[in-house]
C-alpha cells in the first residue's frame, strides 16, 4: 500500500533531519520526499510518498504528528488530491530519431529544453500515471540522465466536502 502524506512543519534548519531521521529510525519505507515553503514563510510543506501495510502507515502518521515541529499531517487520497512531479531527462538522440522524439514530446506536452549533437533534454510535469506513460513512450530511446523532484500534492478543493481527511 502506498500513501501520499502532506506534512506541514515549522520552517527552521534541522526540521528535515527530524522528519527524515524518523524514517530511518523506525525503518519506514519512503519512496519520495519533497519540501518547499508554503504561502506562510514560517511553514514548510513536506510531501512524502510512503509504502507499507496499513498498520505501518498509521504508525507513520502518528509518529510524524508526535514530532515537535509538525503542525499538521494530512493523508492525501489519490482520488481527492492533485499530484504532480517534475521530471528532467537527457536522452541520447541520433539525428535520424529527432522527428520521432519531437512527436512524442509534442503529444505529451513535454518541453525540449536543450539539444546538443547527440542528446536532447526533456522537461515534463504530470501525475504519476502520465509520467510512467511518457517513460514507456520513450522506451526506444536511451536515457543518459534523469532527475525527478518527487511528488508534490494538494487536496482538490472541488471534492472538499467531508471527504478530505485531516489527520492532525
Amino acid at each position: 500500500m502506498r500513501q501520499v502524506i502532506s506534512v506541514l512543519v515549522r520552517n527552521h534548519p534541522g526540521v528535515l533531519s527530524h522528519v527524515a531521521g524518523l524514517f530511518t529510525r523506525r525503518a519506514y519505507n519512503i519512496e519520495s520526499i519533497a519540501a518547499g515553503v508554503t504561502e506562510r514563510p514560517e511553514v514548510t510543506r513536506i510531501t512524502l510518498v510512503v509504502s507499507g501495510d496499513e498498520s505501518v502507515l498509521e504508525q507513520v502518521t502518528k509518529q510524524l504528528r508526535k514530532l515537535i515541529d509538525v503542525i499538521g499531517v494530512i493523508d492525501l487520497k489519490y482520488s481527492q488530491s492533485v499530484t504532480r512531479e517534475l521530471i528532467l531527462m537527457t536522452i541520447y538522440l541520433p539525428a535520424e530519431k529527432r522527428v520521432e522524439l519531437i512527436q512524442v514530446a509534442t503529444s505529451f506536452g513535454a518541453a525540449i529544453v536543450d539539444i546538443s549533437d547527440q542528446t536532447a533534454t526533456l522537461e515534463f510535469s504530470g501525475n504519476e500515471r502520465r509520467i510512467n506513460t511518457l517513460l514507456m513512450a520513450l522506451a526506444p530511446f536511451k536515457i543518459k540522465e534523469m532527475a525527478r523532484t518527487g511528488l508534490i500534492a494538494l487536496p482538490l478543493e472541488s471534492s472538499f466536502g467531508d471527504s478530505r481527511e485531516f489527520l492532525a
Binding site: 512543519v9 515549522r10 534548519p13 534541522g14 533531519s17 527530524h18 531521521g21 529510525r25 498498520s55 498509521e58 504508525q59 502518528k62 509518529q63 504528528r65 508526535k66 515537535i68 515541529d69 509538525v70 503542525i71 499538521g72
Partner: protein, 558 residues
C-alpha cells in the same frame, strides 16, 4: 557592565534558577568554560561526576526520584558524545531531563574543529527534542522551551547545544514568560464517550486485569490508581518501570509480568477477557509474542502518547490523555464492583505457583533481597543496574511507593545503576539508597566511587558478584548449548580493595548468615558502603518466558 546586559552564560544560569533547578550534574571542558565561569558565583549546587555518562545517569536518577527535571552539562565533542547513552536511556524510559552541551564557536562549526561533534544530529533519534542555538537572542526562549518540553506531555530528555560564542556574547535580556509552541499540544483529558465505554467494558468483564507501568508514576497518578483499583476490584500487574505505582504487597497485586514476571501475573493476563492498560507500551519484554499475549481479551489503553496506542497490539478502547486525569474521570463515574470467582482463580494460581527459589546451593541473591524487604523504620530507594540482579530485584523487592525503585528499563543500560543511585541520593538525602548491582554492570561506571566519596553521597553499593555476565550466561545456557562465550570474567578486581582506594568502607559476604549483619553495618554509617556478595555463580532468573514467545510459554525449569 551596562544595566540589563547579560552574557549568554548568565542567561543560562538565570533560566536554570527560574526553573527551580537546585542541582546540576556535569563535567567541564574547553567549550563550556564560560558557563562554568558563571556557575562559579552561582548558588546552584554542581556535582562533578567522573565521566559525562555518570552525569547523564545521575540527572536521570535524580529526575526519577524527585519528579523534577534532571539537568546535566558536558563540553563539546567527546563530552557530548559521552552523554549519548544517558540520553537514549532517559528517552526510552520517558525521563524528564535537560542536557546542556558546549559547542565550538558558530564560525568554526563544520570545520572538523578540535572537540567538535555534531551532537545536534547525533541526538535527534534519542531525545524528545533538541536545539542548536545559533543566535544568542534565541537562547532564553530555547532553554525555557527545553524545560517545558522535558516535563510536559510524555516526558523525555531535551538537548540544548550552545556554541562558545553564544555563551560569551552579550544582549539585553528580558526573562521569557510565555511559551509559544504552536505544534505541541499534549491531550490531557480523556474523551468522555471513551470513558463511558471503558467503564462499561470493565463492569461487564468477567476476567479483567489492570496492566500498569511507568506512566502512572510519571503522571503522579498512584493515589488515583489505588482508588480506582479498590473500586473496581481489578487484579493488577505492573511492569518493571511500574514498580511503585501500586503496593506490591496488596492482595490484588500480581507483581511484575512479562519475561521474568510471576507465573500468576502471566496466567492472569493470558486468561483475561479485558486488559486495562494504563501508562504502558506493550514492550517486547512484556509481550514477546503479541498474538499469544491475551488472545481472548479486549484492550483498553490509556496513554498520553497517541503513537503508543495500536503500536504493538490492537486496541479496542483507546483513550488518549494524562493517566492521572483519565483515572480521575473514571473514578467520578465508577461504581464498586465484585469479582469473586476470578479473584479466587488468581489466588489459586498464586498458591500453586508462588515466586520462589531453591534455598540450598550457596548464597542466594533472592535471600539478600528478602533481607532488604525486612528493613523497617526507614524509607528505602532501590537502584539497580542491568542483568540478573535487576530481574531478581524486580521479582523479590516488594515496592510499595512511587519513585522508590529506579532501573533502566527500555534501553537496559549496564552501568546505569551506580550514577543513577548517586543522583537519587542527591535528590532524596533523607532516604536510604541501596544500589543492587552486578560485578559486570558495576565496572561500567566504577569511577563514580570518587563522586560518592567526594560529596559523601551515602549510597549503599550491593554487588551481586557471580563472576559472570549472568544474564547473557543464562541465555547461553538455555538457548546456546551452554557455550559460555566471553561471559565468564576470568579476572575480577577485589571490589572491597577498590572501594578502599576511594576511602569507602566495605566487606565481602559469602554466607547466608553474614548477610543481615553486613546490611546493618552498611546502613549504620552515614557514608557510602560497599558489600561484595559472592552469590551462587550459576543461579538463574526464574520463571522465564523465552524471547519472542507467548506470555504463558514459560520454561519449566531454569
Amino acid at each position: 557592565m551596562s544595566s540589563g546586559m547579560k552574557k549568554g552564560s548568565e542567561i543560562i544560569i538565570d533560566v536554570l534558577q527560574e526553573e527551580g533547578v537546585d542541582v546540576l550534574f556535569g563535567f567541564p571542558g574547553g567549550q563550556v568554560i564560560p558557563l562554568y565561569d558563571a556557575l562559579y558565583d552561582c548558588p546552584i549546587r554542581h556535582i562533578l561526576t567522573r565521566h559525562e555518562q555518570g552525569a547523564a545517569h545521575a540527572a536521570d536518577g535524580y529526575a526519577r526520584v524527585t519528579g523534577k527535571v534532571g539537568v546535566c552539562i558536558a563540553t563539546s565533542g567527546p563530552g557530548a558524545t559521552n552523554l549519548v547513552t544517558g540520553l537514549a536511556n532517559a528517552y526510552m524510559d520517558s525521563v524528564p531531563m535537560v542536557a546542556i552541551t558546549g559547542q565550538v564557536p558558530t564560525s568554526m562549526i563544520g570545520n572538523d574543529s578540535f572537540q567538535e561533534a555534531d551532537i545536534y544530529g547525533i541526538s535527534i533519534p534519542i531525545t524528545k527534542y533538541n536545539y542548536l542555538v545559533k543566535d544568542i537572542h534565541d537562547l532564553g526562549r530555547v532553554l525555557k522551551e527545553a524545560f517545558y518540553l522535558a516535563r510536559t506531555g510524555r516526558p523525555g530528555p531535551v538537548l540544548v547545544d550552545v556554541p562558545r560564542d553564544i555563551q560569551v556574547g552579550q544582549i539585553k535580556y528580558k526573562p521569557i514568560t510565555e511559551i509559544y509552541l504552536p505544534s505541541y499540544h499534549p491531550v490531557i483529558k480523556g474523551h468522555p464517550k471513551q470513558i463511558e465505554t471503558a467503564l462499561k467494558a470493565i463492569r461487564e468483564a468477567e476476567r479483567p486485569v489492570a496492566y500498569v507501568g511507568g506512566g502512572i508514576i510519571s503522571a503522579g497518578a498512584t493515589e488515583e490508581l489505588q482508588a480506582f483499583i479498590r473500586a473496581t476490584n481489578l487484579p493488577i500487574t505492573n511492569t518493571l518501570l511500574g514498580k511503585g505505582s501500586f503496593p506490591e504487597d496488596h492482595p490484588l497485586s500480581l507483581g511484575m509480568l512479562g519475561m521474568h514476571g510471576s507465573r500468576y501475573a502471566n496466567y492472569s493476563i493470558y486468561n483475561s477477557d479485558l486488559i486495562v492498560a494504563l501508562g504502558v507500551r506493550f514492550d517486547d519484554r512484556v509481550a514477546g509474542d503479541v498474538a499469544k499475549f491475551a488472545p481472548r481479551a479486549r484492550v483498553i489503553h490509556v496513554d498520553i502518547d497517541p503513537a503508543e496506542i495500536g503500536k504493538r497490539v490492537n486496541v479496542d478502547i483507546p483513550i488518549v490523555g494524562d493517566v492521572k486525569t483519565v483515572l480521575g474521570q473514571l473514578l467520578a463515574k465508577v461504581k464498586p464492583m465484585e469479582r469473586k470467582k476470578w479473584l479466587e482463580q488468581i489466588n489459586q494460581w498464586k498458591k500453586d505457583h508462588p515466586l520462589t527459589y531453591k534455598k540450598d546451593g550457596g548464597l542466594k541473591p533472592q535471600y539478600i533481597l528478602e533481607c532488604i524487604n525486612t528493613l523497617k523504620k526507614r524509607e528505602v530507594i532501590i537502584g539497580t543496574d542491568v542483568g540478573q540482579h535487576q530481574m531478581w530485584a524486580a521479582q523479590f523487592i516488594r515496592t510499595k511507593k512511587p519513585r522508590t525503585f529506579i532501573s533502566s528499563g527500555g534501553l537496559g543500560t549496564m552501568g546505569y545503576g551506580f550514577p543513577a543511585s548517586i543522583g537519587a541520593q542527591v535528590g532524596c538525602p533523607e532516604k536510604t539508597v541501596i544500589l543492587i548491582s552486578g560485578d559486570g554492570s558495576f565496572q561500567m561506571n566504577i569511577q563514580e566511587l570518587a563522586t560518592a566519596r567526594c560529596y559523601n553521597i551515602p549510597v549503599k553499593i550491593f554487588i551481586f558478584n557471580n563472576g559472570y555476565l549472568g544474564m547473557v550466561r543464562q541465555w547461553q545456557e538455555l538457548f546456546w548449548n551452554k557455550r559460555y562465550s566471553h561471559t565468564h570474567f576470568e579476572f575480577n578486581p577485589d571490589f572491597v580493595k577498590v572501594a578502599e582506594g576511594y576511602e569507602i568502607k566495605g566487606r565481602v559476604v559469602r554466607t547466608t548468615e553474614e548477610v543481615m549483619p553486613a546490611i546493618e553495618a552498611a546502613l549504620s554509617v552515614k557514608e557510602p558502603y560497599l558489600i561484595d556478595f559472592r552469590i551462587a555463580p550459576e543461579e538463574n532468573v526464574s520463571p522465564m518466558v523465552p524471547p519472542g514467545k507467548g506470555i504463558c510459554e514459560i520454561l519449566e525449569e531454569c
